[in-house]
């Protein structure tokens, strides 16, 4: 009994009802050919995506800076001996701010804050969001209707609004900002999780698992989660970028990490007044911020291509 090789029949002939195959199931059907019909870009992307590499380089740089700042910074963060608004050069490579603090030092600690904010928010958002999304994904009918519409409404509420409320309650700090951003993110992640869960649950292998006598908890851990995580991870990477931006915006408004911490957003705010006299203060944190966010977005895109080659670049 010879079967056609996997290569020959990567596409099924469907003789009956059109079965709309979605996301995760489709995923590996085409890994055989490594291609996505309909998009030339998809076809040209190999297994190691250039986006992923570029993203890793950018993010890696920021992470490296943050790590180095843990052990070494050129000056103490609150060392004000530098003199007011010294232009870039030696000994202050990027110059100083109005208090005479070294800008490079602040940028380096700022990297740490940005990463902490992103990771913290993602951790909170993912923990709450995935649980809520799973719950909604398994809920039926009106409960699901209610939950999903509720999520739709919540999603429309911007992170900043929520953060402002929480800051009003708890006073500005990195923790508050991260908490607020994390909460705001929860709805987005929950909604995505819900959709992914619904999609996976509609697939036959879930029915097969159930008729094999597999219990619901094991269906979740054994089938649902492994099949949704690639898409989820891609999205979390994107959310990470948004979280970093949100923290910067909060700090810009004075609602983020309080002053001794050199958050990039706060640095930008402080440097606003000296756009002309000391432009480094505005340019440097901005560039790093953009690098980090672009970096994680590239990683997200790259991950999508490698983990999930058939999914079109949504968003």
């Amino acid at each position: 009994m010879s079967e056609p090789t996997a290569m020959e029949s990567t596409k099924p002939t469907r003789l009956t009802k059109p079965t709309k195959l979605s996301g995760p199931a489709k995923t590996d059907r085409d890994t055989g050919t490594g291609k996505e019909p309909g998009t030339a870009a998809g076809a040209s992307r190999g297994r190691r995506s250039p986006a992923l590499v570029a993203g890793c380089v950018l993010v890696g740089l920021i992470v490296a800076i943050a790590l180095v700042s843990l052990f070494w910074v050129p000056y103490a963060p609150d060392d004000t001996s530098g003199g007011r608004l010294v232009p870039p050069g030696l000994p202050h490579l990027l110059g100083t701010d109005k208090l005479g603090r070294d800008l490079l030092t602040q940028l380096m600690t700022g990297a740490r804050i940005a990463l902490e904010a992103g990771l913290g928010a993602i951790a909170i958002g993912a923990a709450l969001g995935v649980c809520a999304g799973l719950a909604a994904g398994f809920a039926t009918r009106w409960l699901d209707d209610t939950l999903s519409t509720l999520l739709d409404v919540l999603i429309a509420f911007p992170t900043l609004l929520l953060a402002m409320l929480m800051v009003a309650a708890r006073s500005a700090s990195l923790g508050t900002a991260v908490l607020a951003i994390g909460f705001a993110m929860t709805a987005v992640i929950a909604r995505l999780t819900r959709i992914l869960v619904k999609r996976v649950l509609a697939l036959d292998y879930i029915t097969a698992a159930r008729t094999s006598g597999t219990s619901w908890p094991r269906v979740i851990t054994g089938h649902v989660l492994p099949n949704i995580w690639p898409t989820l991870v891609v999205n979390l990477a994107q959310q990470f970028g948004l979280a970093v931006m949100a923290e910067a915006s909060l700090s810009f408004l004075g609602l983020g990490a309080p002053p001794p911490n050199a958050s990039w957003g706060r640095m930008l705010h402080e440097a606003q007044a000296t756009v002309f006299t000391a432009p480094t203060g505005v340019v440097a944190p901005g560039v790093l911020l953009v690098m980090l966010v672009v970096g994680v977005n590239l990683i997200a895109d790259g991950l999508r291509d490698t983990l999930d080659p058939t999914r079109r670049r949504t968003r």
């Binding site: 739709d152 409404v153 402002m164």
Partner: protein
Amino acid sequence: MISYLLRRLAFLAGSLFLAGVVIFLLLRTLPGDPANSLLAVGASPEQIAAARHEIGSDRPLPEQFVTWLHQLATFDLGNSFISTLPVGPEITSRLDVTVPLTLLSFVLAVLIAVPVGFVAAHRSATWYGTLISGISQLGIAVPVFWIGMILITVFALQLGVLPAGGFPQDGWAEPGEALTSLALPVITVALVMSASLIRYVRSAALDVLGSDYLRTARALGSSFGRAMWRHGLRNGAVPVVSVLAIELATTLLGAVVVETVFALPGLGSMLAQAVAQHDYPTVQGVLFVSTFAVLVIGFLGDIAQRLIDPRLRGRLSGGAR
């Protein structure tokens, strides 16, 4: 459709009430004494007590809630703790800035994003297709305030062609002046918004471009442009519309930053200030009005989606995706 509308409206009302309760409770659980902000450092405890009594923050929660609901029913959003002036009229006057700002940005963003996103999809293999994707990628990563700062520096401070901020005191009584002062903020928001919209439009366009019905239309002799016009546009709109609704709501409420940078007397800056002052009635009022706006936008988005996509009609939840 009618029954859907009714159910959806009922849901709208329910959400609104729920949102009201949540907003109220959220605010009351915040620590910090509103009366504190009323008084300069030299106030006596008696003065504070008197102030509290006047604003009603010394009464039990349920009583305050009922009062609030009662006020809402009569379209009264109460008086500010701080200024003791009614909240409603001020919100209305702030909306004069925020609503045009949001809508204009929104329209501009859509005008930018739809053609650009389409080109990015249609020409995804070419260098400029990639370039567009790259730029939109970058656009998403640039904070609003940075763009705002740069635009101010270039157009207001260097070139001096547009005002750096502010809004005419007489508002829309001088439409020309009002529009000029909104120019930079609108461009700022539109740039940021279109950066992310382009990605949605691009992916919707990619779906359309790869679709069977488009191929069928072309096989039947439609030119590509015609097929896109007749079939592509509407099909591409389905996923984009749901995103648009969210973007619109986000911009409406997320105007704080841009209003700060451009010194606009909008709802966002009003809220920011009220939050800082623990001015509950104001925060409450702004939040409530915002929630209402968000729900209505969502409602309209849903209706729009259902008008476009007959497959969704009759389904209460679930957008395009």
